[in-house]
């Protein structure tokens, strides 16, 4: 759906993008993560056809972004970071206005359908100026899918919202996937990304650092850290025994649970089990720590 290679964009005083590569496949939700100022919005602006890259190739749905005459030539819906509407139009009027644009006209019932989908049916005759941030954001998503594009580019759709608003928006994004749409969205709230994305790309100082599916990422970033829950209170003796065993890096006790950090390697679980058996320790459970996206993000961005 989106293929970006060697994308560069420089402004007067700094280079926002320094050769970015990006690949979004048909039908997936792609999370675009990065610190503020890493170049997320710049990239999305270019992809939406609103600004021109300094150099590099951008293909969106098979169309070269540099070839288009106007932004709407691309089959995509774009939601800017802070969508601005005319405060003196109502939600219904806004969508009617945006819906009628010569080239792609919408069906008569479409606006009502979209308003209901976005949960704005009750407030459709209210002026947009009186809307809350979350309602504006939902209206923004509504206007992005108004023309039923195959691809949606959402810039920070959930970042500035309260928990309820975020939940609503994430729910809508999940709904988009069920409609068979491809979604590229950016965020710096990693929890949101974890909740809805199939694949993520981490961007740092204008370059793509990592691009992987969330599942692969979890797998490859599993750390050899185990939480072992013991039946009884852990004695100091037992801790010493475990700590001195081969393959164990460090241990830490939190009441019944001992956190054991092992040396890297695929067989670390077997080694751990062996140690436990050797020391005759009764356990209730062993679980391997799942890495949070935050850990991965920090590791990748700081590992540069």
């Amino acid at each position: 759906m989106i293929e970006v290679e060697g994308l560069k964009k420089s402004f007067k005083h700094f280079e926002a993008l320094q050769g970015l590569n990006l690949n979004v496949r048909q039908g997936e939700i792609y999370g675009f993560i990065g610190k503020n100022g890493a170049g997320k919005s710049t990239t999305m602006n270019i992809l939406a056809g609103l600004s021109k890259p300094t150099s590099g190739e951008c293909l969106v749905g098979g169309i070269k972004v540099s070839d288009i005459i106007q932004a709407s030539d691309l089959d995509l819906g774009y939601l800017p970071e802070d969508p601005k509407f005319y405060p003196w139009l109502s939600a219904c009027e806004t969508l009617t206005y945006l819906g009628d644009s010569g080239t792609h006209r919408i069906k008569p019932g479409r606006i009502q359908e979209i308003l209901e989908w976005g949960g704005l049916d009750k407030d459709k005759h209210r002026r947009v100026g009186t809307f809350s941030r979350g309602m504006k954001q939902r209206l923004g998503i509504c206007s992005a899918i108004l023309h039923d594009p195959g691809l949606l580019i959402l810039d920070e759709p959930s970042s500035a919202l309260d928990p309820q608003g975020r939940n609503d928006v994430l729910h809508l994004i999940k709904g988009l996937k069920d409609m068979g749409k491809t979604v590229l969205f950016s965020s710096h709230i990693l929890n949101d990304v974890e909740r809805v994305c199939d694949r993520i790309g981490i961007i740092a100082s204008g370059r793509m650092v990592l691009e992987k599916s969330l599942k692969d990422l979890e797998h490859s970033h599993l750390q050899p850290v185990y939480d072992v829950t013991f039946e009884e209170k852990i004695t100091e003796e037992a801790q010493k025994c475990i700590k001195s065993s081969i393959g164990v890096l460090s241990t830490e006790i939190k009441e019944q649970v001992m956190v054991i950090k092992m040396e890297d390697g695929h067989e670390s679980i077997l080694t751990l089990m062996q140690i436990l058996i050797d020391n005759n320790l009764k356990i209730v459970g062993v679980s391997r720590r799942k890495p949070t996206l935050e850990d991965i993000f920090i590791k990748e961005v700081h590992g540069l």
């Binding site: 405060p87 003196w88 002026r127 100026g129 009186t130």
Partner: protein
């Protein structure tokens, strides 16, 4: 003779002018109370709209109206 004489005829002719002025002022006062203001204090705008002829309400409508609530 230092004042301007108000004749009956003159008052009748002045009525439409008064109507425009009053209409604008009332409209602005309602807007200020209902929607809030921008760029200046609410009471300042109220005073401007009520005490300055024509230009007061017009200035308010151009720069003082709260954009988000219109």
């Amino acid at each position: 003779m230092n004042t301007i004489e108000l004749t009956g005829e003159m008052i009748i002719m002045l009525l439409p002018l008064l109507a425009i002025q009053m209409g604008l002022t009332i409209y602005c006062v309602i807007k200020i109370m209902k929607e809030g203001v921008e760029n200046l204090n609410k009471w300042a705008w109220l005073a401007i709209c009520i005490f300055i002829n024509l230009i007061g309400p017009i200035t308010f409508l151009i720069v003082g109206r709260k954009r988000d609530a219109s």
